[in-house]
Each structure stands twice: as structure tokens, then as C-alpha cells.
């Protein structure tokens, strides 16, 4: 009989080899689906690369997809580092977008720089509050944050639906349920398809790297995540640390709401998140909760997303095929984690391992 046994931490070399082979194997399997859909797999894969890097415009589109995912993943990372399972990035994202739109509605005539700064602050606070609610209940009453944050996603989504279909419905949209586009003085400046949110993302990455690796509070978050006993033993204020981590985590996710509304979609809507809040969980996890790897993996995911949308139009294949390719690659990479962490042994060798 075979048993599953945890093995020692793999070397970096082994990790790279295993993951690369996972991607290759995934592409091989995906080829079958591509063939069924009536396209040439090799051409299609080259198409993905072209779709992402083929021109400056396409590259800008890739980066545009990377930025929100990157910031969301960093937000999720902060909470996960503390073993606080924030599944609510979607909701915080939406609330940030609501906050952004609220600023414009209340103060529509602010000059652009003031408007942007105010929107950043408000979206951060909206996202932060949305995560502080479950964080408070967790710290105070020990409630389960996984369910709590998940539920808040639906509340946020329903709130946006209500705004879109009723309270903030644009009267000029001929009865279409849509919220009015933001005015010029509330849009992120952009040049050649690259908008200001890229700069914001760079600053956030650097700040988060410092926060997680070089700051007292980041260190405390990591200790608390590893062992609450140790944290208490060295005198960390557990409640305070949970609250601060939730503030940063929710706040970052909220800021993405601002970046997407003002930089990409131009208006708040129920579709604004595109499920990125959940994808961010995968990215943060695959990156081993380390900031530099989050950057790399967000880029890899953005390539998949952008490549998929490009091949749909370029190869005339259904969008679902592109999504299937994405899912297969993801499935193989997640599966390879198992290979990296466990091995199978037969009964005969079991006693040496036990």
C-alpha cells in the first residue's frame, strides 16, 4: 500500500524544474482542447505571446491587467501572512470603488490632483473598514473570518447592484442600468495606454516590501501568523496587530477599486472586479506570501489573461477555450505543489520515514 509522506523543503532548482514541467505538461494537455476547437496549438501559443508583447499597445494592456491583480495580491498577502484568511478582496475592491464614486458625486468640481488624492484616501478607508468589521469580530469574539469576509463580498456586490440599478442610476443612459461615467477631472492621467496606476503600483510594491520585511509591525504580523503563543510570549499586542494588518490588507484592496474605476472602466459597475479578488488569493499563495514573487506571478497571470482575450479575436476561438487553457495551466501548477511537498512511499519503507 502507498502512503503520502511530507518531504523535506525542496531546493530552488527543483522548484523551478517542477513548475516549468508543470506548465509544459499543461500546455500539452491543453493542446487537445485547442485541436478539438479547430486551431493549431503551436500557433495559438505563439499567438498568446504575441498578444501580450506583440506591440506597445498590447504590452500596455498586459500591464493594465497586471496592476490590479498585483495590488490585490499584496493586500491579501498581508492578511494571509498573519493566517487571517481574507477571502473578501472582491468586496473590499467593490467598496473602494464605491468610495471613489462617492467622492466624485459629492465633490464633482475638485481639481484633478486633489480629486485623485482624496479618492485614494477614501477608497483605502472604504476597503479597510470592510475588512475591519470581520477583523474586529475575530479579535473580540473569535469569529471565523473566512466565512465573514466571504459573506461581505455578497453584501458589497448587492450594494453596488442597488446603486447601479436604482440610487445612482444614470438618468442620461436611456434607461440602461448604469452609473454615469466619471468626469475628466476624476480620471487617472495616462500616456500611450499606460496610466498612472502603474506608478502607484510601483510605490505600493516598494512600500509593502519594506512593510513586510523591514518594519516592526510586519515582523509582528509574521510572528503572530506563525504562532499566537510566541507572539503573546514576546509581548505582542495581538488585537492591535490584527487590526493594523486588516487595515493595510483591506485598504490596499480598496485602493484597487479606485485604480480600476478611474483608470480602466471609468465608472462603477457590478462587473468591475472581474473575479480578480479571488484570483489574487491564488497569486498570493503561489508566491509563498513573498512580495517579489507576487510581482512575478501577477505578471504571469496577466499574460494568461491578456493572451486569452487576444487569441479569442485573433484565432476566432470561443472565449471558453481560452479560459479552459488558463484553468488547465493553473490546475497543473497547483498540482505540482503536491509533488514538491509530498512523496509517496510504499509500506516497506514506511518505518524509516515515520
Amino acid at each position: 500500500m502507498l502512503h503520502i509522506v511530507k518531504k523535506e523543503v525542496p531546493k530552488t532548482r527543483e522548484k523551478i524544474i517542477v513548475r516549468l514541467s508543470a506548465v509544459l505538461a499543461a500546455l500539452a494537455v491543453a493542446s487537445i482542447i485547442v485541436l478539438v476547437a479547430g486551431a493549431n496549438p503551436l500557433e495559438l501559443y505563439i499567438g498568446i505571446v504575441q498578444g501580450c508583447f506583440g506591440s506597445l499597445y498590447r504590452f500596455a494592456a498586459t500591464i493594465e491587467k497586471m496592476v490590479p491583480l498585483l495590488v490585490l495580491s499584496l493586500g491579501v498577502l498581508v492578511a494571509f501572512k498573519m493566517r487571517f484568511w481574507n477571502i473578501g478582496a472582491e468586496g473590499q475592491f467593490l467598496m473602494g470603488a464605491v468610495g471613489t464614486t462617492l467622492v466624485v458625486r459629492l465633490l464633482p468640481d475638485l481639481p484633478l490632483p486633489v480629486m485623485l488624492v482624496l479618492m485614494i484616501i477614501v477608497s483605502f478607508l472604504f476597503g479597510a473598514v470592510w475588512l475591519m468589521i470581520p477583523a474586529f469580530f475575530k479579535a473580540r469574539f473569535g469569529t471565523n473570518e473566512t466565512l465573514f469576509t466571504l459573506m461581505l463580498n455578497y453584501i458589497a456586490l448587492t450594494l453596488v447592484t442597488a446603486l447601479q440599478y436604482d440610487f445612482w442610476k444614470d438618468p442620461a443612459a436611456n434607461g440602461m442600468p448604469k452609473i454615469a461615467n466619471l468626469p475628466e477631472n476624476a480620471l487617472l492621467p495616462s500616456a500611450g495606454g499606460f496610466n498612472l496606476s502603474i506608478l502607484m503600483a510601483v510605490i505600493i510594491v516598494l512600500a509593502m516590501y519594506y512593510f513586510m520585511n523591514r518594519s516592526k509591525i510586519g515582523f509582528e504580523i509574521a510572528v503572530l501568523g506563525e504562532s499566537e503563543n510566541t507572539a503573546r510570549y514576546i509581548g505582542i499586542n495581538v488585537t492591535r496587530t490584527i487590526i493594523i494588518a486588516a487595515l493595510v490588507s483591506g485598504g490596499l484592496c480598496g485602493m484597487v477599486g479606485m485604480m480600476q474605476t478611474t483608470g480602466v472602466s471609468g465608472a462603477l459597475s457590478t462587473e468591475i472586479t472581474g473575479g480578480l479578488g479571488f484570483t489574487a488569493i491564488i497569486v498570493a499563495w503561489l508566491s509563498g506570501l513573498k512580495v517579489p514573487f507576487v510581482v512575478v506571478n501577477s505578471f504571469a497571470f496577466a499574460v494568461l489573461l491578456q493572451g486569452a482575450s487576444y487569441i479569442q479575436t485573433a484565432f476566432q476561438i470561443p472565449g471558453s477555450v481560452a479560459e479552459m487553457i488558463q484553468a488547465i495551466i493553473l490546475f497543473f501548477i497547483l498540482g505540482s505543489e503536491f509533488v514538491l511537498q509530498y512523496r509517496l512511499v510504499s509500506d516497506k519503507t514506511k518505518s524509516e520515514v515515520a
Binding site: F219, V223, E226, T230
Partner: protein
């Protein structure tokens, strides 16, 4: 009872790494008997039973069950042979009722739950054993004793007639223990055989027919209850005083540093885990704390460090009552706790971090501002590794969990000592260490003693406690059963105190 053997284990050896957990152990169980396995912590009792239950595969040895040689490679196979073990930590589904827990995983059930049939069967078995189980009660509404009954019932329901109870009484009140023993007696009357692991002598004398004493991975002897006495058992359990190379350093004891007055603490099960504990600790002495695992040592250490809630009583340190102060404050006053729990990394060290970060744990607050600096900690970590001869490939990017147990201990204790604490509380500092590493730890402690530091040393090995310490306090079920001078007492006497027999008068002056 007859002389038919249902279990025979011969020459069982099991090695973990370098440690021989079981060394050519012999064990046999007769049909219809209650057989107690007696021994100190780490004697190999649980390991032996894990072999019988198919959790460990022995490296050597034969097992016969009901006359047939068998190879038990999983608990499932053990259960097929009629061997069932009561887990130390209950594995019940809280939101299920008793009946649902019994049905879950039982191979008697078809894919569909036949509640009526199961209830009928349960009813019969419950009547037969006189157990107090309400099949419809949810597990989360049950007391610890009820959960235990349910676990026993589950094993029996699945057809086990050889039942292993691993320290079943540790979590029970005296009344509940009586109930449990009643059930055990009824089980035996219906033809079951029972193995009970314990270290409580009185219980052994009450319930068992035969007793096997284990010590340091070997069987010392199997005796009939009628032919022995608690004193003899205690003697066999602790063994002769061994020649150990644990140096005692003679130091003129200084002033009183810590005064613990009548402290009481209650655990989650509302049991008095510390029951009116009082003692003093002086500069330049090592006060040993002995006791069976779970007698309140952990809670005492944590209570002093401010990590465990003390319900009543006072702990006076430097003229101030520190009960109720938060851990940060207490640690700033110079009280250091290096507690090594069973998993070694549960407190004090962060297992996934490297040595530098673990040194930083106690350091990072000293730097002003929001940032941390690893430079100072790096120097300290290097010094620590060199001074204590910690064997590690790197102090950076190499998680301490990857180090061997001895090296982990050195890092933990070394870091605490580097901080020059005014009071050192250390528990199980040499647990799992080889002789050489233990030696370094003893030397470290003696060095601190010479510097007139007060040290509290919670230990497991009586031989070590007796040669290292100036005084030994014995705990049993949260009570102090004696504070003795190891030079004026015997191991047997301490062994008896660990089992709850109070010492008479020795060093009474320091208790008062």
C-alpha cells in the same frame, strides 16, 4: 480469567532517528484481563501501544494476536483483529449526535443511514455495559467524560475486544474515574481484554490484574497485582539512581527572589490545574520541578510569565505582585521563560524563521522608530552559534525547524541567557537531546547559578533533577506534594510524591 493469551508481543524494537523508543520489549495480554502499563514519560508506553495499533511498524519483533502471527500495518487492520485504541485526543464530530458519530466510519453501515437499526444495536450494547450515553445528544453538549464514553463505545461498537486506553483518567474527576472503571469491569466480564496506560499507582492497584513496568524503552517486569505494592512499583518505575555526569555546583544560596503564595488556576475543563501552590526561589539556586506530565508545570511556568490566568494568590518578584501584569511588562522586569513544549517550537521560537529572526524576536523592540534592523541580531546570532556550538548550515534563511532538537534548544536557551534575565524559568530544556548537548545545557544553567541567578528548572528525568538541583518541588495534579532536598531523599520517595503521596515534613520550612 484464564491463561489464554490474546496478544503476544516479542522482541519489539522501534527506532526513531537515533533514539531507541522501544528496545526488545516483551508484552502479553491474557483474555479477560485488565493489564496496566506503568512508566514515566518517555518510557515507551505509548510507542508500544502504537505498534500494537498499527500506527508504528516495529523495526524488529513479532506480534501474535489470538494465536496467529500478524503484521499490523494500519489501525484498520488492527481493528479487523479486534484491537481498538482510545485516542488521547478525541476524534469526534462536534455537531453530530452520539449516534451519528458511531455510525460515521463504521463499516457496518450501508451507504444509507439506518438510524433505527443502529439505535437498536447501540441500545443493547449500552444496556450491557451500563454506559451513560444518550444517542441523540450532540457532542458539543457533552462533558469530557461523556465524550470519552462515546469514544470507548465507538471502538466497541466496531467490534473490538482488545481495548487500549491511553491515559484515560488524566482528564477525569474522581467520580468519573469510578464510572470509567465500572465500565472497564463490565467490559472484561463480557470477554474483552483491556490494556490501560497510566502512571497513577493507586489506579493501577485498583483496576488492573497484571502490571507491566516500562522504563526508557524496555520492559522491566510484568507482575501480578496481588504480589506487589505501590512502593515496589514506584521503585521499578523510576529505577536505580544512575551515575550521571550532571555536575552539581555548590553555591552559597543568596536572598529570596521569587515568592509564590498560594496560587490557584483553573483550566478549560474547570479542573484546578494549579491548586494552592506556594514556594520560594532564591538567588544562586536551581529549583527543580518534578511531576508527571500535565501536573501543572506548564501552567506554573506560564503563570509566572503572565501567560496563564492566575485565579487567586500572589507571585512576588522584587517586592511587587506580578499576578495580572501582561507578559510584556513581566518580561521587561527581567523574568525570562524558556519553555519547550512537546513540539519544541510552540513557544519562544518561530519555527519557520531563521536564527537571526528568532534572536530578533526579543530584540526588535529596543530599536527606535518603525523599522527593524537585523544587524545587531546577526552579531548576536553569530556569537550564540559559536559559543554554544550550534550546528547549523546558516544563521540566515535556514528555518530553525530544520535544526535538530538539540540545536533548537541551544538557540532558545542561549538567546534567553544572552538577555541577562533576573529570573530564568526553563522547562524540559534537555528533552530529546543527546548526552553531549544536554551537557552544554547543564553547564549553561550552572554558569547562571554561579552568577547568583535564581533558576526554576522543570524536568522529566529524575536522575538529572536529583543531581542538578538544589531543591526539588514535586507537583501532582496541581498540588505541591513536597519540596525536598535531593541529597536527603530517594528516588522512590519522589516517585511516590509524583503519584500523589505527600511528603512528610522534609524541608517544611520552605513550604510554610
Amino acid at each position: 480469567m484464564n491463561n489464554e493469551y490474546v496478544v503476544k508481543m516479542e522482541n519489539i524494537t522501534k527506532v526513531f532517528g537515533k533514539v531507541k523508543a522501544l528496545d526488545h520489549v516483551e508484552f502479553s495480554l491474557k483474555k479477560g484481563e485488565v493489564h496496566a502499563i506503568l512508566g514515566e514519560n518517555g518510557a515507551g508506553k505509548s510507542s508500544l501501544m502504537n505498534v500494537l495499533n498499527g500506527i508504528y511498524m516495529p523495526d524488529e519483533g513479532q506480534i501474535e494476536v489470538k494465536g496467529q502471527p500478524v503484521n499490523i500495518s494500519s489501525p484498520k487492520i488492527a481493528l479487523d483483529l479486534g484491537i481498538g485504541m482510545l485516542p488521547q485526543h478525541y476524534k469526534l464530530v462536534d455537531v453530530f449526535s452520539a449516534m451519528e458519530n458511531v455510525a460515521a466510519g463504521s463499516r457496518k453501515t450501508s451507504p444509507f443511514l439506518n438510524k433505527k437499526k443502529i439505535l437498536d444495536e447501540m441500545g443493547k450494547l449500552i444496556d450491557q455495559l451500563g454506559m451513560d450515553i444518550n444517542p441523540n445528544k450532540k457532542v458539543y453538549e457533552m462533558s469530557v467524560a461523556e465524550k470519552q464514553s462515546l469514544e470507548i463505545f465507538k471502538v466497541l461498537y466496531r467490534g473490538a475486544d482488545i481495548l487500549i486506553l491511553d491515559e484515560p483518567t488524566a482528564v477525569l474527576t474522581p467520580q468519573e474515574i469510578n464510572n470509567l472503571f465500572e465500565i472497564v469491569k463490565k467490559m472484561v466480564a463480557t470477554g474483552c481484554s483491556v490494556i490501560i496506560i497510566t502512571h497513577k499507582l493507586e489506579e493501577v492497584m485498583e483496576i488492573s490484574d497484571r502490571i507491566t513496568i516500562m522504563r526508557k524503552g524496555t520492559t522491566i517486569q510484568t507482575v501480578n497485582k496481588e504480589e506487589t505494592t505501590p512502593q515496589e512499583l514506584a521503585g521499578m518505575m523510576v529505577g536505580d539512581v544512575m551515575e550521571l555526569n550532571v555536575p552539581y555546583v555548590s553555591v552559597e544560596r543568596g536572598q529570596k527572589c521569587l515568592e509564590v503564595k498560594d496560587i490557584t488556576a483553573i483550566d478549560r475543563n474547570k479542573v484546578h490545574i494549579l491548586d494552592h501552590v506556594s514556594f520560594d526561589l532564591y538567588a544562586g539556586e536551581i529549583l527543580g520541578v518534578a511531576g508527571i506530565a500535565g501536573s501543572g508545570q506548564k501552567e506554573l511556568c506560564e503563570g509566572i510569565a503572565g501567560l496563564y490566568h492566575i485565579k487567586s494568590g500572589e507571585i512576588i518578584f522584587e517586592g511587587e505582585n506580578i499576578v495580572g501584569k501582561n507578559p510584556e511588562k513581566i518580561s521587561q522586569m527581567g523574568i525570562s521563560l524558556s519553555f519547550v513544549p512537546e513540539d519544541r517550537l510552540g513557544m519562544g521560537l518561530v519555527s519557520s524563521m531563521d536564527i537571526i529572526d528568532n534572536v530578533l524576536l526579543k530584540d526588535y523592540r529596543n530599536k527606535k522608530g518603525l523599522g527593524i534592523s537585523r544587524e545587531v541580531s546577526r552579531d548576536k546570532a553569530e556569537a550564540l552559534v559559536e559559543r554554544l556550538n550550534v550546528s547549523t548550515p546558516a544563521i540566515e534563511n535556514h528555518a530553525v525547524s530544520l535544526l535538530s532538537g538539540g540545536n533548537i534548544q541551544k538557540v532558545l536557551l542561549g538567546r534567553e541567557i544572552e538577555l541577562e534575565p533576573k529570573l530564568l524559568v526553563t522547562a524540559y530544556a534537555t528533552r530529546g537531546l543527546d548526552v553531549g548537548s544536554s551537557q552544554i545545557i547543564y553547564d549553561l544553567l550552572n554558569e547562571q547559578k554561579v552568577k547568583m541567578k535564581p533558576i526554576m528548572y522543570v524536568g522529566e528525568d529524575l536522575d538529572v533533577l536529583m543531581s542538578l538541583c538544589d531543591r526539588i518541588m514535586v507537583l501532582c495534579e496541581g498540588r505541591v506534594t513536597g519540596i525536598v532536598d535531593p541529597k536527603k531523599t530517594t528516588k522512590e520517595a519522589i516517585g511516590l510524591m509524583m503519584s500523589g503521596v505527600r511528603s512528610e515534613g522534609e524541608e517544611a520550612c520552605s513550604i510554610s
